[in-house]
Every structure is written in structure tokens, then in C-alpha cells.
Symmetry: C2
Subunit: 287 residues, 2 copies
């Protein structure tokens, strides 16, 4: 067993990493470097451009929280769009909801999908699901051009560098608004309050300029810098706490590993330094 | 500016660290190695035996949450005991509560106190407070021998290696129970659900064998492995949510940076994998 570490360095000030025993895949796509390594700590780990994306051990935290908060806020989500999410974990969770008739997933990078199909089956198992419509395409172009309406849109993107940059702009969210049904909800990967406070605030600001109701909720995983991460939430009609039906979660009994009714509500409780910074962009919440 | 990193390695599987520009202090006490470094990411950082303890930038998260959750659960905390907490941050927060008449702090290692007095004034400022009774002594011995009764006891300890090991045993908590008033509360550093699940469970188990009401709450900081950390909570009488008076927080208006009424409640919402593991040791909570 070799003693080799793979590390992510944040602004040349903080770094963290995991010992890996094998590099299973390494490729350079049109968009980014894609790697899969095997680690004692996390099992298999996907990296895009050297940044940790998803791991066997903790993927449940991210995928539960990006998916079930909006899908249990909307009372009857039938048509769901996932932008990005190339590992498949978000689409997998979307398709556990019995109300969902179709999940469209628009991932820009086929190499991510192919690498996960081969090496990360825990998330990529979804790619054979009959209700999944996988498109290898640009999500920005897709929301600009489609005439379809979605009940929930999930923006499961990397950080605003490389191919994901336009996903952090206002034009994109204006098109997301257009593609959402009249009671639609959008949730997006929302960055770290400790390590990327400016990007976090700017993303919520953009949503607050487009949507009547916006907030942010936190969760924790093992693979992102600092572990303490967020999703931004924007909605045309439904409030994620006031309109949340805990009975539906109980009846479905989907045996989640991270999500439950308490954490759905508790995750919106923000530490004061986040409230102070984000308050101008939080709309329709008593914050 | 040198390019030198100080790192914490977890079980030879995960590591994380910060670039430091200067080593301000390094000493070997009777109990442990004590270091203070200056970093661009976190400001000044205290390390005991190579483990990150506290930093200028994020100390507010830990100290707010270890202190204000029990002190705002107890309706009138007058006499408070802090075991450990050598940097002073916990005692500093305790003494912001106007009901508190005395805060006794029992820290085993004078070198930690002295290093913080010299290099980490943000927390060590408390050491001149007239209501603070600082004892350089063994906290285990102190709770075994004292006849004093405390309304709240805070166990602000390192991990169960080195001098802190007995603070994770049942005899210690039997003595803590004895030293608490009839409506007393104890909160302890509770480890990481991701990286130390076994220690976390065993500490909560011990408390559940001694106290009628036990649970655990989470918070996030930047200096501990994974960032997602917990405190265990045990109480003789008061429930931290049912008996929590949000009006008192509002009236005091102490301008916290992490703590607020929402996060006091939300922090007790546990992800499902924590509930599943800790459920046998959670008492008096609908979990």
C-alpha cells in the first residue's frame, strides 16, 4: 500500500486531503481534469480539477440535503430538473420520490458521467432508471431554450470556476425562474460560510433579485473544505418550514441516512455571523 | 514570509492544516506540548500535542455554543464551573451573563493559561475578571473533593488522550452529578460524528447512565478535523428546548457572532445517521 496523499489547497492558506491507495481514473475532458481515487477514509472519491466532489462514504449527506429539502417542501413534485450532478447521486434521490414522473438531468461533461458509471456505482446506479432523461449538454443553454416547466430545479454544480461559472450569474437564474412552474422551487450548491463567504452572499443576492422568497440552509460533509457547507433556496410560493408537511416524510419512510424532518427545519437556523452577512438577501423568512 | 504548514493527521487517513508565518511559542509542560503559531487563515492558533485547539478567527463558534446553550437553558445560572478551557474563551462567555456571580475555572496546565495570556488575548482577556476564580488544578480531583454546588458545569476539554482521558469516564460524571445543584446542567466537548463516532457515542452513553436527560447538539468551526463538531448535553431538570426562554436572549442582546435563539434550537436537530447511532443514549427528547 503506497503512502500517497491527495490534497486540496484553499487560497494557499488552508489545505486538507486524504491518503489514497490507488488512482483508478485520470482524464482530461474538454472542460476539466477528472480523477477517481480509492481512499481508506472515504472509499472512492471523484475530483474535478483537483477539487473533491463526491465520495462513497459521505455522498449521502450532500445528496439528501440538496434533494429532499426542496422535494418535501413542494407538495407534489412531478417534473424535476437537475443541472450538473454528473455523479448521479442527486437524480438517484429525486427518483425515490413516488410523485416524480420524470427527472431530467443536464450534465455538461460526459467524462464525469462515464467515470462515475465505471467507478462510483453508489451514485451512478441511477443512470439505468427508466424515469431519468440524461442529456449531455450545457445547463445554461438548456434553461435558456427549453419550453418545459419544472416543479423543482436543483443546481448541483461545482464552484464558480471552469465550466460552472455561468451557473452563478443572474441571467441563468432569470431563465431558471422562467422554467419553473408557478409554485416552483430552486436549490443550488451554496458554498461555505467560513471559506467562501463572498461567493455565498453573491449567489444568494442574485436569487433574491429574481425570486420572492430566498434563504439558505447548512449541512456538513467530509469532502469539502471545512466540512460546513450550504445550499441556497429560492421559491415562488412554498415556504420550506411553514408549508412543510412532516407527515409525508413519515408516510414515505424512505430510510434516509442524513435527512429527516428535524434537520429539514433545523438546517435553516443560521449562526449569527451568517445572518448578519446574508440578511439583506433573505426574503420571506423571519431572520 | 516563510511557506511552512502545520498539520493535524487523523488516523493516517485524513490530514488538514494551515500555512503559518511564525511560531510564537513552543513549550513542553508536565502534561503536553503547547504551541502558538500565527497563520494568514486563522490568525493565532493554539495547539496542544499537535492538535488544533483554538484560533483567533473561529473561537467564537466553539465558545458561544459550549456556553450559551446551557446558560440560556438554566433560568438563573449563578455559580458556574469550567473544567479545562485553558485559553479562557469559555469563562469569558460565561461571565457575560449578568446572573452569574462566580465562575470557577479549573485548568490542569498552567502553561496553556500562560501562553494564551501572552499570545491569545482575545480569549485570555478574561483572566483579569473579578468574578473569575482560576485554579490550576486537576478537574477530576476537584469535582471529587469539592462541596460546592454549581448550576452549570462546562467540560471544555481536549480529546480523550493525554491529560483529558479521565474526563471521559463514568466516575468523573458521577462526581459532576454530585457537584450540580438539583436543577443543574453539564455540557461537554462532544467530538465529531464523522471522525470520532465511537468516542462520541461512549461519552453520551456515560452521561445517559448518570443523568435523567441527555442529548447532543452540533456546531461548525474551522479548526477541528472535519469542522462539524458536537457538545453533549445532560440535565437534571431543564429541557434545552421546552424550557428555553427566547425572550431572555432578546432582552440581554449580547451581540453574539454564532449563538442565537434559532441556532440554540436548530443545533439539536441531528442528521439521521447520528440519531440512529446515538438514540439509545438520548433521554427525555423526542428523537
Amino acid at each position: 500500500m503506497s503512502d500517497t496523499w491527495i490534497e486540496e489547497i484553499h487560497k494557499n492558506e488552508m489545505r486538507f486531503g486524504f491518503r489514497y491507495t490507488e488512482k483508478l481514473f485520470s482524464g482530461q475532458s474538454e472542460f476539466q481534469k477528472v480523477e477517481v481515487v480509492d481512499t481508506p477514509c472515504l472509499g472512492r472519491v471523484l475530483l474535478n480539477d483537483g477539487l473533491f466532489m463526491v465520495s462513497d462514504k459521505d455522498e449521502f449527506a450532500y445528496h439528501d440535503m440538496i434533494t429532499h429539502v426542496p422535494l418535501y417542501t413542494h407538495p407534489n413534485p412531478k417534473n424535476v430538473l437537475v443541472i450538473g450532478g454528473g455523479d448521479g447521486g442527486t437524480a438517484r434521490e429525486v427518483l425515490r420520490h413516488k410523485s416524480v414522473e420524470k427527472c431530467t438531468m443536464v450534465e455538461i461533461d460526459a467524462m464525469v458521467v462515464d467515470a462515475c458509471k465505471e467507478f462510483i456505482p453508489i451514485t451512478a446506479q441511477v443512470f439505468s432508471h427508466p424515469k431519468l432523461d440524461l442529456k449531455i449538454d450545457d445547463g445554461v443553454k438548456f434553461v435558456a431554450e427549453t419550453n418545459e416547466k419544472f416543479d423543482v430545479i436543483i443546481v448541483d454544480s461545482t464552484d464558480p470556476i471552469g465550466p460552472a461559472t455561468p451557473l452563478f450569474g443572474i441571467e441563468f437564474y432569470q431563465n431558471v425562474f422562467k422554467c419553473l412552474s408557478d409554485d416552483g422551487i430552486v436549490v443550488s450548491q451554496g458554498e461555505s460560510a467560513f471559506y467562501e463567504p463572498d461567493i455565498q452572499a453573491s449567489l444568494l443576492k442574485i436569487k433574491s433579485e429574481v425570486f420572492p422568497m430566498t434563504s439558505l440552509y447548512n449541512f456538513a460533509n467530509m469532502t469539502y473544505p471545512g466540512g460546513f457547507w450550504s445550499f441556497t433556496f429560492a421559491s415562488k410560493k412554498y415556504h420550506p418550514i411553514k408549508n412543510f408537511d412532516t407527515e409525508r416524510v413519515k408516510e414515505d419512510d424512505l430510510k434516509f441516512k442524513y435527512y429527516n424532518s428535524s434537520i429539514h427545519i433545523g438546517a435553516f437556523a443560521l449562526p449569527q455571523f451568517m445572518k448578519d452577512r446574508l440578511n439583506p438577501y433573505i426574503k420571506g423568512f423571519e431572520c
